[in-house]
């Protein structure tokens, strides 16, 4: 019998091992924080006592203290303005002023006073929301069509060259509309968001419902393919680029900060940070690797599951991780430093841009809603 079992060819063993090692390594890195490599020394990270920051915010004279702190928190030698992106592509950014498109050369255009936005599948259009409106926009801000809907949120655009859908949530539930603004319909009365289309040719959508469960629905047949048990607050849903893994980032009260599901809805991996919280994740294009930002106490750190060591560390929260389309650069939003930090995934490069809020005419720190070719 031993010989019979040994004769059985086991498919995909080598590939599965190479896919798994980065995940195991990442879990190990969370368990045992790896000290920052020496080549990151020039990343000037200064621990700032939270109490000092709070005290500084209490009075007008405190403003100067905050400004002093800001001068030393963040990446040293940051550019004062965004002169260019480190690699090709365009960004979609949401600030208090509205939705912006940022070109590769750093130039930017305000599309209008919209709140949330999503790129169309090939980056030719943008779908954006007002409180009671969903709109499809040209990249110069011209409006293609609008749809009046109550309390629109979570627009997500997906499809092929010839057939696209926009999923979104309004007061009635989860809805879907064709890319030309027609055939708007309710998909799930209990759908609340966040939402994530599964990459591929079918219109299959993961969403969180009003009971805190994550479900997968075929948007054309309206059939629910699977549904998880209640998970509590679901902050984010994101598919790997091959559509094989779905990541759900959960509220801080949950035992597992992140649960990764298989395509079939089975829990695949759970990530729990014992002394902290996962504040952001981003699936690296073309792989199962993920960038993960963790907050532990007053400090945060960032790592990528197929790279060794911590890529960035510092006070405050890292948010809005966004990969460049080629998967080589990662944009990290760092509100405490008012910086965008572009980190190369192999750890061999870093660029930072300061004064992000001011550049996007915003009092709150701008959010990145996508980086497309």
């Amino acid at each position: 019998m031993k010989r019979e079992l040994e004769r059985i060819g086991i498919p995909d063993e080598h590939e599965a091992r190479e896919r798994t090692w980065p995940v195991v390594h990442a879990a190990f890195a969370v368990r045992q924080p790896v000290p920052q490599p020496s080549h990151w020394r020039w990343v000037a990270v200064v621990a700032v006592a939270l109490a000092a920051t709070l005290a500084a915010t209490l009075s007008q004279p405190g403003r100067a203290v905050i400004d002093e702190i800001r001068e030393v928190v963040g990446v040293d030698r940051a550019q004062p303005a965004l002169f260019s992106l480190p690699t090709s592509g365009r960004l979609l950014v949401a600030s208090d002023a509205g939705i912006w498109v940022v070109q590769e050369d750093g130039s930017k255009r305000l599309l209008g006073a919209y709140q949330e936005a999503t790129w169309s599948p090939f980056g030719r259009f943008v779908a954006a929301t007002l409180q009671n409106e969903l709109a499809a926009l040209e990249l110069d801000g011209d409006v293609r069509w609008t749809l009046a809907r109550p309390r629109v949120r979570y627009p997500r655009w997906m499809g092929t060259e010839t057939d696209t859908r926009i999923a979104y949530v309004d007061r009635t539930g989860l809805r879907v509309v064709a890319g030309d603004g027609t055939r708007d319909r309710l998909l799930s009365r209990g759908g609340r968001g966040p939402l994530a289309w599964r990459p591929g040719e079918e219109f299959v959508l993961a969403f969180a419902d009003q009971d805190g469960r994550v479900a997968l629905v075929d948007a054309d047949s309206e059939r629910i393919l699977w549904r998880t048990k209640p998970l509590g607050v679901v902050h984010d849903l994101e598919w790997s680029s091959d559509g094989r893994r779905l990541l759900a980032r959960l509220g801080p009260s949950r035992e597992n900060d992140v649960v990764i599901y298989t395509r079939g809805g089975l829990p695949f991996t759970r990530i729990r940070v014992p002394a902290g919280t996962v504040t952001a994740t981003a699936a690296r294009p073309g792989s199962h690797a993920r960038a993960v930002a963790i907050r532990e106490g007053d400090d945060s750190r960032l790592f990528v599951t197929d790279a060794r060591g911590t890529l960035l560390a510092g006070p405050g929260v890292f948010q809005d991780l966004a990969w460049s389309p080629d998967g080589r650069w990662l944009l990290v939003g760092w509100p405490a430093a008012d910086q965008w930090v572009f980190v190369r995934a192999d750890g061999r490069g870093i660029r930072a841009v300061s004064n992000i809020s001011e550049q996007f005419r915003s009092r709150s720190f701008p959010e990145v809603h996508g980086w497309v070719p």
Binding site: L5, I10, F28, L225
Partner: protein, 169 residues
């Protein structure tokens, strides 16, 4: 089972945070973990998930691991129990219309397809003891301990499993 000095040093290193020691353990034990998961589940994607999840579980429990014990059987026990759970869950899922979760058959028939097909016709519980005995080389006593079963049950499952396989083959 005796623990080699190298493995003991690797476990100690991993407990202290050494990535290279963890990687050595991973690369040593991955093939058998994945193989065992595949032989119980007959599904490559599930085997990958199970083997990976088992390594993650092992990492979570690494601090409490007794270095005098061998690492492999400890890991394989996790793998086989998860593979049994997965196979049972698949049986249930097929009754609740989750077609998307049922894996498609592997496109290319692997070597040893007859044995694999015969193994697939056993229940997950019988499959698991056969795999543990003949692929992982556990003794019946070790299987009983790993699966929390009476030794007599292990022996009877082994006998029935082998009888069924010899009829098929």
């Amino acid at each position: 089972m005796r623990v080699g000095r190298d493995e003991r040093a690797q476990v100690r290193g991993a407990q202290r945070g050494s990535v290279s020691d963890l990687e050595a353990l991973f690369r040593t034990h991955w093939p058998r973990a994945y193989r065992a998961a595949y032989l119980v589940t007959h599904d490559a994607a599930a085997a990958e998930d199970i083997a990976q999840e088992s390594f993650l579980a092992a990492i979570r429990a690494l601090d409490s691991f007794d270095r005098r014990r061998p690492f492999g059987p400890w890991l394989h026990r996790i793998v086989v129990n998860r593979a049994i759970d997965w196979s049972r869950a698949r049986r249930l899922r097929s009754e609740v219309e989750l077609v998307d979760s049922i894996p498609a058959p592997n496109p290319a028939a692997p070597t040893g397809g007859d044995t694999l097909a015969a193994l697939a016709r056993l229940s997950p519980e019988h499959r698991a003891v056969v795999v543990m005995r003949y692929a992982l080389e556990f003794t019946p006593g070790e299987i009983a301990k790993a699966l929390d079963l009476p030794r007599g049950t292990v022996n009877s499952r082994l006998r029935r499993g082998l009888d069924a396989l010899s009829e098929e083959l």
